[in-house]
Symmetry: C2
């Protein structure tokens, strides 16, 4: 199950609407997932009060246990379908890294960061070998 957490408090500077656009984005993403994948989808959309990405609002995270997770920013409510498509591609990808061609352009250009899954092995995550002098010098 891939979980999309949409920041419901996200409000870009200068936005004067009574309701934060993040809240509208969240509802629109629920609707978009249902349109694209039906009511029993492998993607669940939830709301969160702040993703600590306020400088890149509106922001949303896309995550699943044991997979890479993503944070996407710069979203407006009209991007709900792109966000839903990206989340469905994340659910399809065994390691949570959707193939580049499956990512909507808006998502490609507004990816804030990805996080490797803790406790799961992945070719992209490597051990660090530290020489004894690094530990001694603390450099």
């Amino acid at each position: 199950m891939t979980v999309v957490a949409v920041c419901r408090t996200c409000k870009p500077e200068g936005d004067v609407a009574a309701e934060p656009p993040g809240a509208r984005l969240g509802r629109a993403t629920v609707a978009a997932v249902e349109r694209l994948a039906g009511p029993d989808s492998v993607v669940e959309v939830r709301a969160i009060a702040c993703l600590s990405a306020c400088g890149r609002s509106c922001a949303a995270s896309v995550a699943a246990p044991g997979k890479f997770s993503y944070v996407v920013g710069g979203l407006v409510p009209e991007d709900a379908e792109d966000l839903a498509r990206f989340a469905l591609a994340h659910a399809d990808a065994p390691d949570g890294i959707p193939p580049w061609r499956t990512r909507p352009e808006k998502i490609r250009k507004n990816t804030v960061a990805r996080v490797p899954p803790p406790g799961a092995e992945h070719a992209l995550v490597e051990d660090i070998s530290v020489a004894v002098e690094d530990v001694q010098e603390g450099s």
Copy 2:
């Protein structure tokens, strides 16, 4: 177990050193964790080739299964001890949200985003109720 993944390819624009500073930051963080918490710490430091946060290099993620994870940017190798302290505070926090006072200032000011744990309940993560017209209009 909290896992810190330090981007080993991170190289701020204009940096001409042969070795990316992200690689040095990774080794220095291994050493800092060992200094602060001993060799059998609850924090593991690994390297990753890109966190998709290149605009905020050097970047590192701090994550544990079932907890909030964080991405921190704007780091230099000399920030290794702050990163290690933040990771130890993350390991101490049952939900992965370290108390504000425990976060080094460099980390506070350079948090890129946080990601809620998928599949785990948390007071900050809420259901979204969508009116029928939202689904019909796809707005």
